[in-house]
């Protein structure tokens, strides 16, 4: 699993594949206040991105790679 779920935090690691989107959605549905930690994430599949955007998930840590972080910031910080 590229996503590790803790109490109120989802830790993303390396490349998060398309199959993770469904559990991620379920987790966010259950824990609307859940935060995500993307520090160790290098890429996430568009399906996951879509879930994060829809859930307006709050991000605890942005990815280390600057380009990727820019993408995610632009997508997730955008006012809805």
């Amino acid at each position: 699993m590229a996503i590790e779920y803790r109490k109120n935090l989802a830790l993303f690691r390396d490349v998060v594949l398309v199959e993770e989107a469904e559990p991620l959605l379920e987790w966010l549905q259950k824990k609307p206040a859940g935060r995500v930690d993307l520090a160790d994430c290098t890429h996430l599949h568009a399906a996951n991105l879509q879930v994060l955007m829809a859930a307006r998930a709050s991000v605890k840590a942005w990815p280390k790679e600057p380009c990727f972080a820019d993408w995610l910031r632009a997508a997730l910080l955008r006012p809805h």
Binding site: L49, Q50, W71, A75
Partner: protein, 887 residues
């Protein structure tokens, strides 16, 4: 290019031809369901085939065509002339793609948009909802600079500034909107990854296509994301990158100035009137230094998040990159008056940018190195044109220069100037001088660095004037021709024919016969030369005839070779059926067999290859049925459970050798002997006497079978006997060796070609006969004293071996005894007969010749002792003996 691809291309052309024909027929009979089904099948097969290769452009169009035909077939869509037109267009496009693949091995990225457009046009007829309407994907040719600029203001300033700098470095700017298909997650796509990897990406953003549903209702696997991308890659690179999804991409270009858009906190509204007035004044004086200084000071004093600061940063960037574009700078300053977003689209404001544009556009995609290369090229062309033109052929230089220059224009995106170049070239060719072209060069690439003598220039300028004035109408028509989609190939256009032909075999056979006749006719020339010398006594003529003969001989031989080549086929033609056959049979028998094919590219005459098919199948079946043991038996014998069957083809001088080797249980000679005895094929004495090798060879005897029970695979006792007969029919030989418990190896040796037979001519009883060279072992003279008579048959000892002798005359029923030579020696032709050698007593030996053997026909066909006849150069007929039948 792989053989598979070659085959695909050749088949694709046939299919396209077929589709075209069917469409024509349908025009006459639109209700013909059978025609329609056939048409569908063509399109369907072609699409399926194209899917084997990485040609998404082709597959997409064909897929659309297939769907459309399917709809028509099922009556959901009516056949119409428009439908036929669009389908023909699409097929022309596919044909063009085939040409392109053939020439370059791949499909250029430029075709993706056409492919999407054609596909959409076809789908439109089905009436289904099309993602990415055709209008959404304008062909690159028709791509205008859009009136509405992309929402650049949503980009962060840093990204826009970076892009602006890139544009000034000569990079093209493209705004891409990537709208992935809703179901794309299911086809394994990751649009986010695709977007992130876009070439030349400067900035990228993701937005939702629609309002986000409630989280509980969200479908995680329905993609509703849109991607916006700003890229500095060339259009071609982008097209290439998105070639699998051209319908999901909208790519627009925009003037770089559109990026200049201050943003930020208005901080209580426009209060910078003083600065604006002062700055405009400084700008009016053209004092860039002071303006920059003032702007920098103001910037330092202001909060960087202010609208003002943003505008100042842009102003500074403009001063740096476009110091002469005062209008643009002024507009940025003006914007401070009321803090309104700058509308670059307004005519006044864009004017300077358009003026400044040519420079940018002209150099689009040209790096400094490329510009240097271009300059060097142009200089070289100039040097070439400077060379004096004395004779007509030197005009070729002018043509070469013109085509080089056209290439330069194309790669520097100045296609618009090509017609002018063409006109200048035409004028130059007409006047037989380089001047008009030189003049054109001076106009379009600047004058030569080295000043030319004024006299020459003026005179050429005067001449060239009409030439450069001429083109306008030409320009237009030629330009339109260029702009038109190039696959709009119609019947009247030049047709580049396919490179391979399918020819009826009968035609090749006819050629073969004709070349045979030429060989015979040409062989008559030496006789003629001989007659010229001996009968008419004209030695000179004789020599000339001989010289002429040598020429004709060479050509005829080459021609014969060429025709032979046409008939050559790789053995893969018969081999290809084996993987499936072996798999099916071994599965059925519960055996595990690994098939290894080697030397599939070995070639031989078509007839030979075709005659190989059935025997090989027999052998392989036999091997699978009798040769291989069941896996458990194999394991018990210490062999790997999986058996190995190797079929290997090799060429050995003028024969092709095929070996079929298995590592099965081999043939037990004792069992063979017993079986043969049971079937009454051998008698008791033979049972004792036969060597193991001879016993193994009993499997070739008619009526022999190894199998205990007759199965549907083998055991009917016709197998190996039939194989041997079939192989011998084409002058082949078969050999089998087998080791009990280790496996069996069967070796087939076949001639490469049956067309020309090398025969040795012998003389007997005043007649000449031919004997195939491959059965001849040697020719010897044996003294009559050395011939012994054992019982009633003759024999002699040759190198320690007893060779039985037979008189050819006697075999042919001729009463005359063989004639001996002066030393009382008899001519013995030793021939191979199976494993043995037999000596034939003849009168004399003659030369060997290549002949085209014609089998005996009609009443003569029953004469087994002759394998055929051939016509000799002097018009006589040579009868070729069949040694085996003769004995």
């Amino acid at each position: 290019m792989t053989p598979l691809l070659e085959q695909f291309l050749s088949e694709a052309r046939d299919f396209l031809q077929g589709i075209g024909e069917k469409l024509m027929q349908l025009e006459k009979a639109p209700a013909d369901a059978e025609l329609m089904t056939e048409l569908f099948r063509f399109v369907h097969t072609l699409k399926g085939n194209s899917g084997l290769f990485d040609f998404p452009e082709m597959t997409r169009v064909l897929h659309a065509g297939e769907d459309l035909m399917d709809a028509v077939r099922q009556g959901r869509v009516a056949y119409s002339r428009e439908l036929a037109d669009r389908l023909l267009d699409a097929m022309d496009f596919v044909g063009m793609l085939c040409d392109e693949i053939e020439q370059t091995g791949a499909i250029g990225s430029a075709c993706a948009a056409d492919s999407a457009r054609l596909g959409a046009a076809l789908r439109q007829l089905i009436g289904t909802v099309v993602t990415g309407t055709p209008q959404a994907v304008p062909s690159p040719a028709a791509q205008p600079i859009p009136a509405a600029l992309p929402p650049l203001e949503s980009l962060p300033e840093a990204a826009r500034m970076a892009a602006f700098r890139l544009a000034h470095a000569g990079k093209p700017l493209h705004w891409l909107t990537y709208t992935p298909d809703e179901g794309c997650f299911f086809s394994g796509d990751d649009p986010f990854f695709q977007a992130r990897q876009t070439p030349g990406i400067v900035w990228g953003g993701v937005v939702a296509r629609e309002a986000w549903p409630k989280l509980l209702e969200l479908d995680a696997y329905r993609c509703i994301l849109d991607f916006h991308l700003l890229s500095s890659a060339s259009r071609a690179d982008l097209d290439e990158y998105y070639r699998y999804m051209p319908e999901q991409i909208v790519c627009v270009t925009f003037p770089a100035l559109a990026l200049v858009q201050p943003q930020g906190d208005p901080n209580g509204g426009p209060v910078y009137e003083d600065f604006v007035v002062e700055a405009l004044d400084t700008l009016g004086r053209g004092d860039s230094g002071s303006l920059a200084h003032a702007a920098r000071t103001m910037l330092e004093l202001s909060n960087p998040d202010l609208w003002l600061s943003s505008a100042l940063r842009w102003l500074l960037l403009l001063i740096e990159l476009e110091p002469d574009n005062r209008t643009a700078q002024g507009i940025v300053i003006e914007s401070l008056r009321n803090l309104d977003a700058i509308d670059w689209n307004a005519a006044t404001s864009l004017a300077p940018s358009v003026e400044g544009a040519p420079e940018v556009i002209a150099d689009i995609g040209l790096s400094p190195e490329e510009q240097a290369a271009l300059a060097a090229l142009v200089a070289t062309q100039r040097a070439i044109l400077d060379m004096p033109i004395e004779t007509a052929w030197q005009m070729g230089r002018v043509r070469a220069v013109a085509s080089t220059l056209a290439g330069c224009l194309r790669s520097s995106r100045r296609e618009g100037e090509i017609p002018g170049l063409e006109a200048a070239t035409a004028a130059a060719l007409e006047d037989a001088m380089a001047a008009p072209l030189m003049d054109w060069l001076d106009h379009h690439f600047g004058t030569a660095p080295v000043a030319e003598t004024s006299a020459a220039t003026t005179s050429t300028a005067a001449e060239a004037a009409p030439a450069t004035m001429l083109p306008p109408e030409d320009t237009k028509s030629a330009g339109e021709g260029e702009g038109e989609v190039k696959f709009g190939r119609r019947a009247e256009d030049a047709f580049s024919g396919p490179k391979s032909l399918k020819v009826d075999q009968a035609k090749i056979d006819l050629l073969m016969n004709l070349i045979g006749e030429i060989v015979v006719a040409k062989n008559a020339l030496p006789y003629l030369a001989g007659r010229a010398e001996t009968v008419f006594g004209v030695r000179e003529l004789s020599r000339e005839i001989k010289a002429q003969y040598a020429v004709i001989n060479r050509i005829a031989e080459e021609m014969q070779d060429a025709i032979m080549q046409v008939r050559m086929m790789p053995v893969s033609f018969v081999f290809q059926r084996f993987p499936r056959l072996v798999r099916d049979i071994s599965r059925k028998l519960g055996k595990e067999v690994n098939l290894v094919l080697e030397g599939e590219e070995t070639e031989a005459d078509k007839n030979i290859i075709e005659s190989l098919g059935d025997p090989l199948v027999h052998i392989v079946r036999n091997s699978l049925d009798h040769g291989f043991e069941l896996p458990e038996v194999r394991r018990a014998a210490g062999k790997p459970a999986e058996g190995s069957l190797t079929i290997r083809a090799t060429q050995e001088s003028d024969r092709v050798v095929i070996e079929i080797q298995d590592d099965g249980k081999g043939i037990d000679p004792e069992v063979v002997k017993r079986k043969a005895y049971e079937k009454g094929l051998i008698d008791e004495t033979a049972l004792e006497r036969l060597s193991n090798q001879d016993a193994v060879n009993l499997v070739f005897v008619a009526g022999f079978s190894m199998a205990e029970v007759v199965s549907d695979l083998s055991g009917r006792g016709v197998g190996m006997d039939v194989v041997r007969t079939a192989i011998e029919k084409v002058n082949g030989a078969i050999a089998l060796d087998s080791e009990k418990g280790r496996g069996t190896r069967i070796r087939l040796s076949l001639p490469l070609s049956m067309a020309v037979t090398n025969v040795m001519i012998i003389e007997s009883d005043g007649q000449i006969f031919g004997l195939p060279m491959d059965s001849v072992v040697e020719t010897v003279r044996v003294a009559r004293a050395d011939i012994r008579t054992i019982k009633r048959s003759m024999a002699t000892v040759l190198r320690g071996r007893i060779v039985p002798l037979k008189s050819l005359n006697k075999l042919l029923g001729l009463a005359t005894p063989p004639i001996a030579n002066d030393q009382d020696e008899l001519a013995v032709l030793v021939v191979r007969l199976g494993e043995e050698s037999v000596g034939l007593l003849v009168d004399d030996f003659r030369e060997t010749v290549d002949i085209i053997l014609k089998p005996m026909t009609g009443v003569l066909a029953g004469l087994g002792c002759y394998s055929g006849s051939a016509l000799m150069g002097d018009g006589s007929v040579l009868m070729v003996l069949n040694v085996k039948e003769l004995m």
